[in-house]
Amino acid sequence: MLAMPRKDLILFLGFAAAVLAMPIWLQPFGAAYPDLLNRFAIFAIFAVGFNILFGLTGYLSFGHAAFFGVGSYAAVWSFKLLSMDAVPALLFAVIISGLFALAIGFLSLRRSGIYFSILTLAFAQMSYNLAYSVFTPITNGETGLQLSLNDKRYLDRMFFEAGAGLPSPTLFGVTLSGYVAFYFCAFFLIATFFIAQRVTGSPFGMMLKGIKSNQTRMNYTGVNTRPYTLAAFVISGMYAGLAGALLAITDPLAGAERMQWTASGEVVLMTILGGAGTLVGPVIGAWLIKYFENIFSAINDGILSQFWGFLPEGAQHTAVLISSKFVGEGWFLTLGLVFVLIVVFLPGGVMEGVRRIASMIRPNKPTPASADSSATKPHPAE
């Protein structure tokens, strides 16, 4: 297992160190508080999982949020029925979302290209609409599924009495909140990153890349590609379920809106922004978007006028007026612009930008990652 190529090992260790040290190096960015760090880890897992499908096989799913949502619901139900411990919740969530992904993937993967995208979109929207309406007994509709004082928690009740007030999720008795929750999520991010790294390098991963570059040729060589794509779909669905469960563990509430198609669009944005087909890219994309959403969006006019304070009165006012369109409530505009620019000029995302800069600095040395760059031009089977 540990017999990794040196390059991979360095990447993995560097990644792990960066994740674990996040509470320190995010301090200057105003992002080092547990809730946001949790989200960084959770959505990074989601994006890494999405990349196993989209980055490797080129199948663009617009319905991954459904698995995320199912994971959340499953985890909260595990809290309500079984135990406040995180382990059964995670297991339950990953299994349920895996089965759900198997069913949807089995049907959706009968088509490819845009038809595949629309099929996943349709399934996800169906799940979302149902969660919002007729499945209300299971999902609690718009209000979202929450813990309550009279939940059964059969497993917990076998061992100890219920305390006063609502319990918090635990891991073998340790309350998962604040930085404990973050390191719990970080552990899973590092573990799933490791798995994704192994998958990418394995013969299975090579097969997936082969499907991306030319599925027809693969079929002609006598390979039945369907099991491979389905496996990738289920794995990425389980990643999404895991991420959804972790979100429910850090904050025990599951709402239907996390299944909406725009939420699926968000993970697509993350992956593309960072660089589809690369390992680190989706993680960076997820962090960027969550940073924008939580920090950029909270910048209001007061903060802006401080920022532009060095300008003369009139110019300060204009600067605040213009820049306020791009931060605060306008953060999504900035994101959209960045996204369009990236798709047009840097189809490989931030990672391609990093590579280009690196190759400019070291023009003689062929970059080791250049083999990867072909993967950044996806050619999904039509």
Binding site: D35, L166, G178
Partner: protein
């Protein structure tokens, strides 16, 4: 492992420097509970105290959110002794001094909740964990209120609900740390019922269209109870998805259902759309069973009435408060708000403004920000002068008991803000009810959770 619980002290340590991981483990040991009885979430140690405003600036109820923000900014100005003081001088009894809260200047942070429970919780968490908010307030949907209230209970932060009308907020989902000034669906039904009976008779067939979430369900139930007690028959109650936009496919079946009253349990943009579309369907020009067809909107606000335009004329509903009331409190607030923003305040603005003052007053009376003490100060507190007549913050469910207004759309408006007229002020006693009927459990105040 209490040493790894979320702690303000740890957050502060991280803020002041790069003490990092080591600090996270050590700091709380120095501040374990009991050592300082007053150690609690975001205890303001500097000379400012921060309130967290969780506002729906986008989404279905965005219009309310924008108005709420104005009200909060005004309230904070008044608390800090700026502006004309507004209702500060009219609250009775009052411990407010106009020098902030407990001598600390009031500051605020905001978060856009997008009218979504998930986002509202994330925003509230950020404001508590990162920005050090001592109290969370705002919101204009019951979904948000219930979700954020639950979070605040876990974090040990007081939540002063903004606009939320569902019975659940102070009913089955009530929380020790959550307080609601706004009235609820049950009270709407009780207040509106007799007026409907008077105007439309005892022999009516009602058709409900209901927004499919906690508020909609409770309001549908309350309205059914109130109207069936009058002798009305409920033909059907159809749930519509929140934010459906086009309600035509739900409206066409009403035409041939034999119903002669349409009750729209919608709020915000949904209500504006469904009412406008119902009028387009000619429902107000119809005669069914030999009676004029009527539309009832149990809860509406000035902002919605403005959005619905002439369609709202003559339609009955209830309100928490209206700027056209003639008491001193209402006039002072309307004047203060109107001078600042050039338009009269909505009921959402009013409830948020009052909530902010009530919280500040409770802190002053308690002499501390320590939440359990503040909670005690709010529970069972009787006050007056805020425009709703004598009001009680009921201890059993944290619901404010006060008069409810029955309103109807103005037939001949004199200005663009003159859209509602108050038909009747239903007294506090008439809308009183036993808190036990909705169940729920407030939960404990102490030990105060350390966020």
């Amino acid at each position: 492992m209490t040493l790894l619980k979320r702690g303000l002290s740890r957050r502060r340590v991280l803020q002041t420097g790069m003490a990092g991981i080591i600090g996270t483990g050590v700091a709380p040991l120095m501040f374990t509970k009991g050592a300082w009885a007053q150690e609690f979430c975001n205890n303001p140690t500097g000379d400012t105290v921060t309130l967290g405003l969780n506002l729906p600036l986008t989404g279905a109820y965005a219009e309310e959110g924008a108005d709420e923000q104005k009200a909060y900014e005004l309230a904070i100005k008044h608390l800090n002794g700026e502006g004309d003081g507004g209702l500060l001088n009219l609250l009775q009894p009052s411990a407010l001094k106009g020098n902030g809260i407990l001598g600390k200047k009031v500051a605020f942070v905001t978060s856009d909740s997008q009218t979504k429970a998930d986002v509202a919780r994330a925003g509230a968490t950020r404001m508590v964990e990162r920005d050090g908010a001592i109290m969370i307030t705002g919101g204009s949907s019951s979904g948000e209120a219930v979700a954020v209230q639950g979070l605040c209970q876990e974090m040990g932060v007081i939540f002063m609900a903004g606009l939320t009308h569902s019975n659940d907020t102070t009913g089955k989902d009530k929380k020790r740390y959550g307080f609601r000034h706004f009235f609820n669906a049950y009270q709407s039904g009780v207040a509106l019922g007799p007026v409907l009976g008077q105007e439309y008779g005892k022999d009516r067939k009602a058709y409900h269209l209901t927004a499919d979430y906690t508020w909609g369900w409770t309001q549908e139930e309350s309205m059914k109870n109130a109207t069936e007690a009058l002798g009305w028959e409920t033909v059907a109650a159809v749930r519509t998805p929140l934010g459906a936009g086009d309600f035509s496919q739900f409206l066409t079946p009403v035409l041939n259902s034999g119903a002669d009253v349409l009750i729209l349990n919608h709020y915000g943009n949904d209500m504006v759309n469904s009412l406008t579309q119902a009028v387009q369907f000619g429902m107000r020009d119809r005669e069914v069973n030999g009676k004029q067809f009527q539309i009832v909107v149990p809860l509406f606000s000035e902002l919605m009435a403005k959005g619905a335009g002439p369609n709202i004329k003559g339609i009955f509903g209830t309100s928490n408060w209206h700027w056209n009331l003639q008491d001193a409190g209402t006039q002072a607030f309307t004047k203060s708000f109107g001078a600042a923003y050039g338009a009269p305040p909505s009921q959402a603005a009013h409830t948020c403004y009052v909530q902010t003052l009530l919280y500040a007053d409770a802190c002053e009376r308690a002499g501390t920000f320590y939440p359990p003490e503040v909670i005690k100060a709010l529970e069972g507190h009787e006050f007056d002068g805020m425009g709703n007549g004598p009001t009680l913050y009921r201890a059993a469910d944290h619901q404010c008991m006060k008069n409810v207004l029955v309103v109807r759309g103005t037939e001949n408006p004199t200005s663009e803000y003159d859209v509602l007229e108050v038909v009747q002020e239903v007294s506090r006693d008439a809308v009183d009810y036993d808190p036990a009927i909705f169940g729920g459990d407030l939960g404990p105040a102490e030990p105060a959770p350390i966020c």
